[in-house]
């Protein structure tokens, strides 16, 4: 169930962030995890210490319904851990799961649960064991079945979140034994692992949390290196989990820090000054609207600076079910009219790079074929074609959220359209209105002709799939949530462009079934050929710390390899220490 405000759902925030973020571009070459840090020398870690991290999102709650926005997710991820993790090399490896194996047709999977080195189960903070029962409880919650089960007694409906849509392909989950779970899918899906990484959002909660929607929202219980100490909307405090199941290479207990305070500081300059004055030990930034600050910090000698790759793809999604963008020439005209390099120079501050595809260079779907790069002549040509076909001039309205950064970007976009003779204008609305009433208001009709949303991200295609596929619950799906979806009781945030492209659908299914990059590229090429989506830039996130913080990016993963220094959700604090 979507809430009315942007902070409340994962998709919402991506969407919300997207509207603010979507109109930036720059020509910086992509470099995964570029950093100007001092390398952590062979200093011995200091045990203990408290740090404060500045984030730009609030903490609405911890149940499935309140899905955490990026930088707030980082706080939750210090408490909980996910089934899979991503290494700094981009590989997805098992974390709480030892591994996942599938049948040849990718329709049946076996998930093996990791145990501690001594064979005993990993424990949640409340003592509950991490085993098959726990995994099943989590699946039921994520898939919305717990909601269905509790619907009579728990009217808060706190269990239903939009991650339900992401696992729509799962038909059933069954326990094989204490440490193995079998998952059956409706359609073959080769990248189930990547789906269960999902940019770090599929974290595992203790089954005890699901008993009651109120406690589920207010208390987060996981297996992670830190435990929840206190939470309010603007601040999360976590303290060391003394029984954390991992140790460092030398055999010392992890984590090193005693306490972390994640503090909501909305003003970017306040975060920067907080870092420099020592009020904050670390702070996260997003290149959506904070490129100036990021640029300043990247060259500052006072801080350590870590950046993600350019793995976030805000896009202009066209509503292909209504005019003008039900006409391919309209879509192409707009796509060709976007001067991405100019945008990068003028609005990107050298941090965001110009898009060359609907996804970034490190994404498995990446392909430049058919991507409409800047070409005024072609833009005008397509606009003229549109006019001759429909008799109308190409004009459209898009929503812009009402903050100064987005407004500036919207204005710039409008002027670029103008150069190509396309009349674009924007209405200012709040981000939540845009999302709620734009594409997703069931039964009311589709309001917007086009909108900027940040929904595609990462290096895999698993989660991107759901926004491109026309059906989350395929015909004949036996997923219990499918019924609710048909009743219009839950939003199926899919198919933002409302396309009815059968060819695209086939390509999507095939790519998901094979998981091969080549197949995914065909999907991209089809989308780009049809110009369903137009991209301007890629974005990244950054984490900056004071010089007293060491160990960022040095957390080793259970399956081997290190975690990246910074994700979209922040940093893995397990191996971090403060001098």
């Amino acid at each position: 169930m979507f809430q009315r405000s942007t902070n409340r759902s994962r998709v919402m925030k991506r969407v919300g962030a997207g509207i603010a973020l979507a109109l930036l571009a720059s020509t910086v070459p992509l470099a995964a995890n570029a950093a100007n840090t001092t390398s952590s020398a062979a200093d011995k870690p200091v045990i203990g210490g408290k740090i404060t991290v500045g984030v730009f999102d609030t903490f609405p709650g911890f149940c499935m319904k309140q899905i955490l926005a990026n930088s707030a997710l980082g706080g939750a991820r210090s408490i909980t851990e996910s089934l899979f993790e991503r290494t700094s090399n981009g590989k997805v490896v098992g974390f709480l799961l030892k591994g996942a194996s599938s049948s040849a047709d990718f329709k049946t999977w076996n998930l093996e649960i990791r145990k501690k080195a001594d064979g005993t189960p990993i424990q949640f903070h409340d003592g509950v064991a991490w085993n098959a029962d726990a995994l099943l409880a989590n699946f039921n919650a994520i898939r919305g079945l717990t909601y269905v089960a509790n619907i009579s007694k728990d009217t808060e409906k706190n269990f239903l979140g939009s991650t339900a849509v992401a696992v729509g392909n799962i038909v059933s989950t069954t326990k094989v034994d204490d440490y193995n779970v079998k998952v059956t899918l409706n359609s073959p899906q080769a990248d189930l692992r990547e789906l269960m990484y999902a940019s770090g959002r599929f974290f595992m909660r203790s089954p005890g949390q699901f008993a009651d929607s109120k406690t589920c929202a207010s208390t987060l219980i996981g297996t992670g290196p830190f435990k929840q100490k206190s939470v309010k909307e603007t601040q999360l405090v976590v303290e060391k989990n003394k029984n954390y199941w991992r140790k460092d290479a030398a055999g010392n207990k992890l984590p090193y820090l005693d306490q972390i305070t994640f503090k909501y500081v909305s003003e970017s300059s306040a975060r920067v000054n907080g870092l420099k004055s020592g009020s904050l030990d670390a702070a996260q930034f997003s290149s959506a609207a904070e490129t100036t600050q990021m640029k300043d910090l990247s060259s500052s000698k006072a801080v350590n600076y870590f950046k993600t790759g350019a793995e976030f793809f805000p896009s202009l999604w066209f509503n292909t079910s209504i005019a003008p963008f039900n006409n391919i020439n309209a879509r192409k005209a707009v796509s060709f009219a976007i001067n991405r390099d100019l945008w990068a120079k003028t609005r990107g501050n050298g941090i965001n790079s110009a898009a060359t595809s609907i996804v970034g260079k490190t994404n498995v779907m990446y392909s430049t074929k058919n991507f409409p790069t800047f070409n005024l002549a072609k833009a005008k040509e397509h606009a003229a074609l549109y006019k001759s076909e429909t008799g109308k001039d190409l004009e459209f309205v898009f929503p812009s959220s009402n903050d100064s950064a987005t407004r500036a970007n919207s204005k710039a976009f409008v002027s670029q359209m103008k150069t190509a003779g396309i009349k674009a204008s924007y209405n200012e609305e709040t981000t939540s209105d845009i999302v709620n009433k734009g594409f997703f208001e069931a039964g009311v009709g589709l309001k917007y002709q086009a909108a900027f949303l940040l929904t595609l991200e990462g290096i895999d295609a698993a989660f991107n799939y759901i926004f491109l596929s026309p059906n989350m619950f395929e015909a004949g799906s036996t997923n219990p949530m499918a019924g609710l979806a048909r009743l219009g009781k839950i939003d199926t945030l899919l198919n933002i462009t409302k396309h009815t492209d059968a060819q695209l659908n086939t390509l999507l299914q095939a790519a998901r079934a094979s998981g091969k990059a080549a197949d995914y590229k065909l999907v991209t090429e089809r989308i780009q050929e049809q110009a369903y989506i137009a991209n301007i830039t890629y974005q990244s996130y950054a984490m900056a710390t004071t010089k007293k913080i060491f160990g960022v990016g040095q957390t080793k993963l259970a399956a081997g390899g290190s975690a990246p220094a910074v994700f979209n959700w922040g940093t893995n604090w397990t191996s971090v220490w403060k001098k």
Binding site: F2, P60, E233, E267, N273, S277
Partner: protein, 318 residues
């Protein structure tokens, strides 16, 4: 009865101001382009929406719903914050944030007065001389800089470059008194500089006038020392205007804290208002604004009472 009557009249005015301002606000809420219930429960069923409408008294006419809201308000039932799923009460947010803002306003006034009183007397004493002109001009410049600009200046100069004070956060007095004050220095100074400037000028004018008054000469002719004359004979009558200004400024400071608390990430009442505005918590906003109106009125009344204490000439008309 005679003595009670003016007090009752005062209370009546108080009540009228609060009622009018909050009634006006509730009318505004009904004029919203989007229905409030639709905004909160976008995906709700018709039954759920009807239930919410009943809870928010939106199913009645304007006056009844206002009256019901008001009844709840004075009992402390200020509704829920719907952004987080209706789990938190507005009242809980008020009780944890309002004391912080009140403390900030109090410290700001103290800082402003501590700066202004000696400066005001000094510049009045040396009126026309170079020291007076230098100080007065500096203060005038300082008061024309908006408080958030001063805040940024202080953050960069004092917080970042010199690292003397922290630039973020609030620490409760009970948790760590030293840090409590250390964290509030920059915010309160930012707010206090402008106030100090205006107080100094007020005091300067009054003291200059007082110094010219005969009773000062008379007091001098009794052979009293200058400092005694300043304190007991000059300052007290001159402080009347200052006191009025200080009490009235408390209301204006509420607005000032809104900006400053956001800059310094202090979870005070101003921060709550700003956050509620950004997240469209209209139910909460109604109560926040009512509280602000209440604050204004209380401070005004206090100003009047204080003046009555300090200046007995005005007591007769109470």
């Amino acid at each position: 009865m005679n003595r009670a009557l003016p007090i009752l009249r005062r209370l009546g005015t108080l009540l009228a101001v609060i009622v009018l301002s909050t009634f006006f606000l509730s009318c505004l809420l009904r004029l919203l382009p989007t229905d409030l219930v639709d905004m909160i429960l976008t995906m709700g069923t018709p039954e759920e929406k009807a239930a919410l409408r009943r809870t928010l008294y939106l199913d009645r006419d304007v006056f009844t719903s206002y009256f019901m809201w008001f009844k709840d308000f004075i009992r402390g039932d200020m509704g829920l914050l719907y952004g987080t799923g209706g789990g938190e009460t507005v009242w809980s947010h008020v009780t944890r944030s309002l004391p912080i803002s009140l403390l900030i306003m109090l410290y700001t006034q103290i800082i402003a007065l501590v700066i202004a009183v000696p400066l005001g007397i000094f510049t009045a004493y040396r009126a026309g001389k170079k020291s007076d002109r230098v100080i007065s001009n500096t203060l005038f410049t300082a008061s024309s800089v908006p408080n958030f600009a001063i805040a940024f200046l202080l953050i960069i100069l004092v917080g970042v470059k010199l690292k003397w004070f922290p630039t973020l956060e609030y620490v409760g007095f009970k948790d760590d008194p030293f840090q409590h004050f250390k964290h509030l220095v920059l915010p309160c100074v930012s707010l206090g500089v402008g106030l100090a400037a205006s107080y100094t000028r007020l005091l300067r004018t009054d003291v200059i006038a007082a110094l010219k008054d005969d009773y000062v000469t008379m007091a001098a002719s009794k052979g009293l020392s200058d400092s005694r004359i300043l304190l007991t004979h000059v300052f007290r009558p001159a402080s009347v205007t200052l006191l009025t200004a200080a009490a009235l400024n408390m209301g204006a400071l509420i607005g000032g804290t809104l900006v400053i608390e956001n800059i310094f990430a202090i979870p005070g009442f101003g921060f709550e208002i700003a956050y509620a505005l950004a997240t469209k918590e209209f139910v909460a906003l109604q109560s926040f604004i009512a509280i602000t109106a209440l604050g204004y009125v209380i401070f005004n009344v206090t100003a009047d009472l204080l003046i009555g204490v300090v200046d007995p000439r005005t007591r007769g008309s109470r």
